[in-house]
């Protein structure tokens, strides 16, 4: 099966929880953003309460968590924003 390479970025609370700002992922073709979130949840109990990612960004734009990931995508899960 074909694999896609995706760069996962973690900010703010997610960086604290995962301990990493950036991770290179090799995923099965057909993986969706929400699948990556589920695997993060499986690894980090502190994410258990969040069945869905708060928000999802692909290539620096908001996207559906159901979007299929393509080779070279930059994926970020966006915790509740608090700018201003």
């Amino acid at each position: 099966m074909r694999r896609v390479k995706v760069r996962l970025l973690c900010f703010a609370v997610l960086r604290d929880i995962t301990g990493r700002a950036e991770t290179e992922l090799e995923l099965a073709d057909g993986t969706r953003a929400r699948d990556v979130w589920q695997s993060l949840r499986a690894q980090h109990g502190q994410l258990a309460a969040y069945e869905l990612p708060p928000m999802t960004a692909i290539n620096e734009s908001y996207a559906s968590p159901d979007q299929l990931l393509r080779d070279g995508d930059e994926l970020a899960f966006i915790p509740p924003v608090a700018g201003g």
């Binding site: 900010f11 960086r15 960004a57 620096e60 734009s61 915790p79 608090a82 700018g83 201003g84």
Partner: protein
Amino acid sequence: MTHLTDSPIDARALVAQVMRRSDGAYVLFEGVIRNHHDGRAVESIFYDAYRPMAEKEIARIIDDVAREFPHAAIAVVHRLGLLHVGDSSIAIVCSSPHRGESFGACRALIDRIKQTVPIWKKEKGPDGEEWVGWQK
């Protein structure tokens, strides 16, 4: 396009940047670190951002608001990093020939920036620190 800075914000320079000779008014909004939040004391706030996306998102919001207030000139700067009580985290300046558009555009900008721009804050007080908005 650089709406993010790691340095103190110079609001006066922003005002000078937007004002045109046809403008009869400007509104400057600054968000400032205050010494309390939800009943807890606050000493400092650390601002983190997904920088390239935050730049794009602020630019997109400015474009939207500029379409709704076509006579307004707009400038927005958000500061990142460690800020203390009294420091400004964001400055927004809107100028226009008549005051209504300045007020309307400025209010719309801060409301929307708070909703969607990927910026986060970790509040620190005497009782510890936490990321605002994250339910543990």
